[in-house]
Each structure stands twice: as structure tokens, then as C-alpha cells.
């Protein structure tokens, strides 16, 4: 009698365990949701804040593609920090195309064997259909009279910028400042370091991401100047009209967000053709204008001129390849553990 009871207990336990395990994993099987064979799905893994741009662009492209090929497509968007998104793709987030903030992030995906070599050359303008730059966001009326990089290293100026070690996008800020220092110091690296040391000792809050910095500056009223991407600075102006001003320094960096097809995953999904077309169409006149309206500088110089009201076209922009020898070199020299950025903070 007692033995039976025990047996029953064990049986119950086994059943419970199996249900639990099965329950957990039942959802795992990929649903081959081929409800409609003519609908092709592609996944675009992007960074923030490109959502509005791609939301509009996806509609544009869906129309275009249906007209050209008579095929409907569904585009799944994913947004997050650029480095984090690149990591997710490496770790198995099966994106057909990536549209990230840094060439370096895409290079990491290439190193993981998912993207063919020389992807940068596959599309025009180093595979960056739109660009941006680093500008200053200051409070209305520019009370501290900030005009250029010289002004923000002065003692007593409080600077807000994200940490280049945790935010890939913030590396552009650092490099822009370095490029300026390089120009006034005629390439004297010791002096450049002093310049950046002065700059970062003015930094009162070093947020982990660009958006965090903007909140610190805009919502919490910290600091006198925010170093920001041009498109993000415009978004802040839009959200808080009449409270801030954009100052474009005399020299800045050409921030080139890069796009490419993730060859390995696209081949697996049999979406290479549409994925390529998706990126190529970003260079069409309509898409370029769309980028301009979303505060990205169109790479087509004719269309860029149409937006001369929005963008300061006078600024001298240095290119990462010409000035720093590309992302890999720049990362090693400035942002690796123990490299120049760490040295600046070392006591």
C-alpha cells in the first residue's frame, strides 16, 4: 500500500517535470509561417534612433518592390545600441541586413564569418547612404558663449558626453575632438592628449549611452554643452522647441553609419536579392530626401544642398579613413583597454 503511494508520487513528479520542460521548449520550434508564399520577410537590425527613418523608408521600399517585382515584403525592424546589435547578430540574431552606426561594428560581424570581405566597397560612398557629424547642443542664447572646441576645454565649462567605452556612437565625439586638437597642435600627440584630458575633466556626467547623455542635459538640466550627433541634436530641438541651440564647430568628423547585407543569413533565408535591393534603394533620390528630412545628411551632394537650411555645410569634416587610418586602428589606439582614453583618466 505504502509502496504504491510512493510509486504514484514518482509518477506524478515525472509527469510534472516533463510538462514543465516541454512547456518551456514547445514554443522553440520555428514556426514555418509560410502563410503566403509571395510574402518575403527580411529583418533589418539597426541602431537607435533610426526608427522613424526606416519606418518611412520601409513603406517606400515596399511600394517600389511590389511595383518592380510584384512581390510583397514584410520588414521586421530591430533597434538598439549599435555595438549591442552587432553582438546580437554575431550571437545568432538572424538579420538579413544591418544598418549600424559604426563601420567597426560591422567589421566585427565580418570577423565572425557572417559577412563577405570588402563589404565596404559593395555600395557607393563607403556603404554609407547617409552621414552625420558631431555638433554642440547648448542652452538657448548660448549663455557660455561656446563657439568651437577651444571654448569647451576652458575651466568651469561643464560638458556632457557619453562614455566611448560603453557607447560606440560616443567614439565619434572623442575622435572629432582629437581631430580638432590635431589640427591646432600640428600633430603633436602629447598636446592632443592634454587637450582631451582638459575636455574630459570638464565632463561631469559620463553616461553609458547617447540617449542617457541627452536626458542628463535636456531633462535634468546638467552641464553647459552636450556633444551630440547632429541628427539627435535636431530631435532634441524638435521635442523642446525654443530651449536649445545647435552650434556647429569649425571642424568635426564625418560620422558614417554603414549598411550591408549579412551574407550568411541572407543566403540561408534566400533573401540575398531583395536584401541587396533594399540597401541599394537607399541611394535613390526619394530615399535620400527621406534621410534629409530625418536629419541625416544625404550622401548625394545635390540633395544635401536642398537641405542647406537644416545643415551647416561650411563645417570642415574629417574622414575616419583618411585621418585615423580606419576603425580598426582607431579603436586600438584610443579605446582598447589601457589605450589613450584609459590613460586620460589614469591618475
Amino acid at each position: 500500500m505504502k509502496k504504491n503511494y510512493r510509486l504514484a508520487n514518482k509518477a506524478i513528479a515525472t509527469i510534472i517535470l516533463f510538462t514543465t520542460v516541454l512547456g518551456t521548449f514547445s514554443g522553440c520550434l520555428k514556426q514555418n509561417s509560410s502563410k503566403n508564399a509571395s510574402v518575403v520577410t527580411i529583418t533589418n537590425v539597426s541602431y537607435d534612433p533610426t526608427r522613424e527613418l526606416y519606418e518611412d523608408y520601409n513603406k517606400l521600399f515596399q511600394e517600389y518592390w511590389e511595383k518592380e517585382k510584384g512581390q510583397k515584403i514584410e520588414i521586421i525592424q530591430s533597434h538598439g545600441g549599435s555595438g549591442k546589435q552587432a553582438r546580437a547578430v554575431i550571437e545568432g540574431n538572424e538579420a538579413d541586413v544591418v544598418t549600424l552606426a559604426l563601420e567597426g561594428d560591422i567589421n566585427e560581424i565580418q570577423n565572425a564569418g557572417l559577412i563577405d570581405k570588402d563589404w565596404v566597397k559593395e555600395l557607393p560612398d563607403d556603404s554609407s547612404p547617409y552621414t552625420s557629424t558631431i555638433v554642440f547642443l547648448v542652452r538657448k542664447g548660448n549663455p557660455k558663449n561656446i563657439k568651437d572646441w577651444d571654448d569647451i576645454v576652458k575651466p568651469g565649462i561643464e560638458v556632457i558626453t557619453p562614455d566611448p567605452k560603453s557607447s560606440g556612437g560616443a567614439r565619434w565625439n572623442f575622435l572629432a575632438a582629437w581631430a580638432y586638437a590635431d589640427k591646432i597642435n600640428n600633430g603633436d600627440e602629447g598636446k592632443n592628449k592634454e587637450f582631451l584630458k582638459a575636455l574630459y575633466s570638464n565632463v561631469t556626467v559620463l553616461d553609458s549611452g547617447a540617449r542617457g547623455s541627452t536626458t542628463t542635459f535636456v531633462e535634468n538640466g546638467q552641464g553647459d554643452v552636450l556633444l551630440a550627433w547632429e541628427n539627435e541634436a535636431h530631435l532634441s530641438l524638435k521635442e523642446h522647441p525654443g530651449k536649445f541651440e545647435i552650434i556647429t564647430p569649425s571642424l568635426s568628423i564625418l560620422a558614417q553609419p554603414s549598411v550591408t547585407v549579412v551574407d550568411e543569413y541572407a543566403k540561408r533565408h534566400k533573401t540575398v536579392e531583395v536584401a541587396k535591393a533594399y540597401l541599394e534603394y537607399l541611394y535613390s533620390d526619394e530615399a535620400q530626401r527621406l534621410a534629409g528630412r530625418n536629419y541625416y545628411r544625404p550622401s548625394n551632394s545635390e540633395i544635401l544642398k536642398e537641405f542647406s537650411d537644416t545643415f551647416n555645410l561650411e563645417v570642415e569634416l574629417v574622414n575616419i579613413n583618411d585621418h585615423f587610418g580606419g576603425w580598426t586602428k582607431a579603436t586600438e589606439k584610443f579605446f582598447a583597454d589601457g589605450a589613450i582614453f584609459d590613460q586620460i583618466y589614469k591618475k
Binding site: 503511494y5 508520487n9 550571437e91
Partner: protein, 271 residues
Amino acid sequence: MKQKRKQTQWLLIFIGIVFITIMLVLPLATVLVYALRQGWNAFYGAINDDYTKMALSLTLKTTIVVVMINTLFGIFASWAVTKYRFRIKHILTTLIDIPFSISPIIAGLVFILVFGRIGWAYPFLEKFDISIVFATPGVHIVTIFVTFPFVFRELVPIMTAQGSDEESAAALMGAGWIRIFRKITFPHIKWGLLYGMILCTARALGEFGAVSVVSGHLRGKTVTLPLHVEILFNEFKITSAFAVSSILVIIAVIILIMRNIVEYRVKKEER
């Protein structure tokens, strides 16, 4: 004497309320102020968005799965740990507590290191065309992980305080395991169990860090409500972000009210 006692009582209540106000009420008020600062229409628009609804349904599904599994585990594990004496009990208890202390980033990362493309289980999964991370199962599993000890943790102190004399007596009289649990243990632990489940629900609703690592942020597919909040925030839509997070607060409040009603009714019956 009596009056002095009253004084201490009100003093304690006062201190408690001040602490709650500073630490909890004001942050909550900040959320609501942000959520409503562009008016009701903006608030309603943010909530009535298709992606918000999809995120909400994923979050609710995840929470239900997670609470069920962890309740089951919590009951068995706390029973095993408190009703018997065996070696390495402390190590076992500590291991169960581990998910509390792991940084959410690492919690997500360990599952990537198992099921992701760089993980050791990947070749096997690929063969059978199963995807766990960057799909909904991944979201479920990491949420189970981060809330794993909640029910267990609530039950252990109660079961310890209760001791095992009554159970032993019942066992001597020949009662089986299930009968002992149902008739003796359960009445003692039911409020603790409820607390544990509520905590687990709240935590599962709000979990962000770990889920964000394994979700892949696929809009409409693997984006939970907290991830959706983060995305909105990163898109410079701070008002919408706070509006959506107020949904989470509302759900939490509804659950807590439900708990209070259940508690009140049952306690009344017992009297």
C-alpha cells in the same frame, strides 16, 4: 503607558510613510507627470499603438509561463530544504539564490553562451531548426532564470518557522506526501506563497536587462513591454516611454488589489 504606546506607534507609522513617500511615491509621481505632460491624447496615442499591444501580449504570456513554473519549483524546493536535514543544504540554498545576484547582463549572456551561435548547444539546435535565443523561448527562459528563487525565498522562512513536527506526526499516522502537503503545510504557507507569486509576477513584468540581451529587439516579435519602453526612450520619445511604462504600473496595481481582495475574503472566511 497606553498613551506612550500610541505615541511610538504613530511615530513608527510616520517614519515608515516618509520613507515610502521619498523612495516610492515620488518616483511613481515622476513617472505619471512625465507620462501626462503632453496631455491625454499623447498618452492615449502611445498606449493605443500596435507595437505596444504586441509587446503587452508577449509580456503577459511570459509572465504567466514564468509564474507557473517558478511556483511549482518554489513549492518543491522549499519543501525539500526545510522538511529534511541533509548535507550541503546551505550550498543548495545558495545556488538557488544565485539568479538574484547575477547582473542581468550576465544572466542574458550565459544563455547566449549556451544557445547562441557561439554557444555549445548551437550545432544541435541548428540541426533541428530550433531557435531559442532571439526568439520568444529565449525571452521565457531568461525571465524564469531571473525570477527563479522568488517563490522559494518566500516559503523557506515560513516553513522554517513552522518546523516539521506536525508533518512528522501526520507521517507517523501514515499520511502520504500529497495529503500532508495539502492538509498541513499548505494552510500555513498560503499567504507566503501568494506573496512569492506576486513578487515573481511583478519582477517578470518589469525585467529588462536579461531579456534585452537575448531578445534581439525584433519589433512585434520579441519585444516585451520594458524593451518597448527602452526603444521609445532611445527614439527620443520620452513621453511615450513613460506612458507605456505606466501600463506596467497599472497592471502591477491591479494585481496587488486582487491580492488584497483575495486575502481579505479568505481571512474573513477563516474567522
